[in-house]
């Protein structure tokens, strides 16, 4: 039993294997912790902070914190849910998330989390940024005003030699995730579609196809994210 640890999430005692993150253990046990930048199979980076939990009264990100024996974890509390909701609201006002015109609406994870936490209106003023849209690739439209810089595309979209199609550009509040201009010209249909699917918002759009699923049949139309 050396390999086993015991943690408590919202009063529920869970036995798990050593070396796993809290998020992994929660998912294995059917406990929902919201995530945006986390992508299964890629290194967690704790960019978005939406998976914030409270361990022994301290705020931590569950995607990067390894579980340790005896941890007392708070997850579904009004305080944490409000913090998560405020992060989602911030992401909404920092970009131009015009859901009615977005190709990803209904399948968007940011939107789905806003539905789950019943975001009627963000508590912050809208920024309406004016970033240029990159439509140079024949397969991909990169709408920078919707990007939440989660790095999912950077981490997961690579060619057979392991070269990344997407990368960070600039720093601070000018930071942008950009598509490599040369590689963007040659990206395959399949990879472009995967890039669109992996993007949690509508920042990567596979060209030539949009709004192909009727309202009411999309992923989060009837079922909340996380069940």
């Amino acid at each position: 039993m050396e390999n086993q640890i015991k943690i408590v999430i919202d009063g529920r005692e869970i036995t798990a294997e050593k070396g796993k993150t809290i998020l992994e253990i929660a998912r294995e046990n059917g406990i929902f912790i919201p995530t945006l930048c986390h992508f299964k199979g890629a290194d967690p980076k704790a960019n978005c902070r939406v998976c914030t939990i409270k361990i022994n009264n301290r705020m931590m990100t569950s995607c990067t914190t390894p579980a340790a024996d005896g941890m007392e974890i708070e997850n579904e509390t009004p305080e944490l849910n409000d913090i998560r909701k405020s992060i989602i609201e911030l992401l909404f006002v920092c970009g131009n998330h015009f859901c009615p015109t977005c190709e990803k609406s209904g399948d968007c994870e940011l939107q789905a989390l806003a539905y789950r936490y019943q975001m009627m209106v963000p508590r912050f003023p809208y920024d309406f940024p004016q970033k240029a849209v990159d439509s140079s690739s024949p397969k991909i439209l990169k709408e920078q005003n919707r990007c939440i810089s989660c790095k999912r595309c950077i981490k997961t979209i690579k060619d057979e030699k392991g070269r990344h199609y997407f990368a960070f550009k600039n720093r601070g509040n000018k930071l942008e995730v950009v598509l490599d201009p040369d590689m963007g010209m040659e990206i395959s249909d399949k990879l472009a579609q995967i890039a669109m699917k992996n993007c949690p918002v509508g920042s990567i759009i596979y060209k030539g196809k949009g709004f192909d699923q009727p309202i009411g049949t999309r992923k989060y139309d009837k079922t909340p994210i996380g069940g």
């Binding site: 015009f98 963000p122 005003n145 009837k222």
Partner: protein
Amino acid sequence: MNKKVIATASLAGCFGCHMSVLDIDERILDLIELVEFNKSPIDDIKKFTKPVDIGIIEGGCCNSENVENLRYFRENCKVLISLGECAIMGGLPAMRNGIPLEECLREAYLDGPTVQLNKEGILPNNEELPQILDRVVPCHEVVKIDYFLPGCPPRADLIWDALYALISEQPMNIPYEVIKFD
């Protein structure tokens, strides 16, 4: 029970949210038993004739007339509701917020592919016309808004449930399906 008084306005919107009210179908007969309409495009009353209990605003503010109208509503309504994405976040009209105003006017009145009759190249500048704002703003950035009903348009069930909850002073039950941003 006294009938509650309702007023509605369509600012920078498409009138779709007002149309969505009609989607409550036969419940409109119940609604008319519970409320009376005052200033609204539905009955074409132009000025408030009495204090209003519930004001419903569709659309954000894109010009000076919208701002004036919204303030007029705030002065006369006990409760003010932002109905739909345009009222809540600017919506489709706010897509011009990233484009300088001059460029917008130029495209609409001078350089657009469908412009044919404006030979003198006039941009609308008569003082009778409302001034266009630099950017479209949500209603709650102009006046205090009490409640928000998202959707494009908001689902009829959401509008009905919210109105019924307000009129009957009961807490509102919000099923997952009715809160949508599109």
